[in-house]
Symmetry: C2
Subunit: 191 residues, 2 copies
């Protein structure tokens, strides 16, 4: 499918032959809005490309509050299996925030493609690097920016997010309450 190719190329361009090899193993899935399609502590053995829709990863903190860790926009790669799993079981929940379309590939299969194909290996490493850099950037934002600045950054990354997903998810991602998010929104529209 053309759109998987675009998603991959946006990260790291691979040859037509390498892409064809990958495509052999791809399967397609759909999930409805709200569905948590990767569950904490449950067995999971896939890699995912998000073709359509929006996804978030989340956890429940010690007080039972739902904390959004990351958002994934349409046409993006979901965090690699190795990053989100321990012993084959997921460390996070991944939830469809709209109806979504996914392309998937068995994680073990993908790993063997990586071993035999430089392109695919380089692509996978690039995904890993981006993921980790993003995590560090988020950490820096949380420690050294105000909530308003963090919201401004989030808007640069995902301009339409506030129109697409419930605000409490965005607020918990930013580390503030729903109420404070609403006030920041008001402030930011004034100028």
């Amino acid at each position: 499918m053309e759109s998987i190719r675009e998603i991959i190329h946006a990260v790291y361009p691979i040859s037509a032959a390498s892409f064809a090899k990958l495509l052999t193993w791809i399967q397609y899935e759909e999930c409805c809005k709200e569905e948590t399609f990767i569950r904490l502590n449950k067995w999971n053995h896939k890699e995912y490309f998000l073709l359509k829709g929006v996804v978030r990863s989340y956890l429940t903190d010690s007080e039972g509050k739902d904390v959004t860790i990351s958002f994934f926009p349409a046409r993006s790669v979901i965090s690699p299996h190795v990053i989100r799993s321990t012993g084959g079981k997921s460390n996070l929940n991944y939830q469809a925030l709209t109806n979504i379309q996914l392309a998937t590939i068995d994680a073990t299969q993908f790993r063997s493609l990586m071993l035999e194909n430089t392109d695919i290996r380089d692509f996978a490493n690039k995904v890993l690097e981006k993921e980790l850099i993003e995590k560090v950037q988020k950490e820096i934002g949380l420690t050294s920016l105000t909530a308003k600045e963090r919201l401004i950054h989030l808007r640069q990354q995902f301009p339409l997010l506030e129109n697409l997903v419930p605000h409490p998810y965005i607020a918990s991602y930013l580390g503030i309450t729903n109420t404070s998010l609403s006030r920041l929104r008001k402030e930011l529209t004034k100028q």
Copy 2:
């Protein structure tokens, strides 16, 4: 050396034979207090075990402020090369906060040991998992705990840290100012 073995076993116990194989490639280094021994954007090709002393990783944010990302206590494994590098160059600074002793191994050499030895591979994967889980936990702390709670958690992880390292480093790790840290310290000693 006995203490490398302890550091490894605290993460994932490996056989004597596997350990002996690893030990062949180990070298030893020392750094003085203050020295940044891995520098942002500089070539680095080693894995590190911290035998003695305390280390922190840090970055300079967009306003020029120094932000501490992680602390590493004595007898710990420093973040794996794959996590802290892009294209062989470091994404972070790593600084000795006291005089330190390190055991090192070439990262490429380590990777080939991983491929040929299940024990070492499992150990390395365990390090990776712990690192990532720790990052997510820190993120949750920053988004859903107060600064006081974060300080309490940090003290559980590193009971002596406030006596060992300058407070501005700890404050930037917690995402607060030096002044606020001092006030929280006062509050917490009252009870």
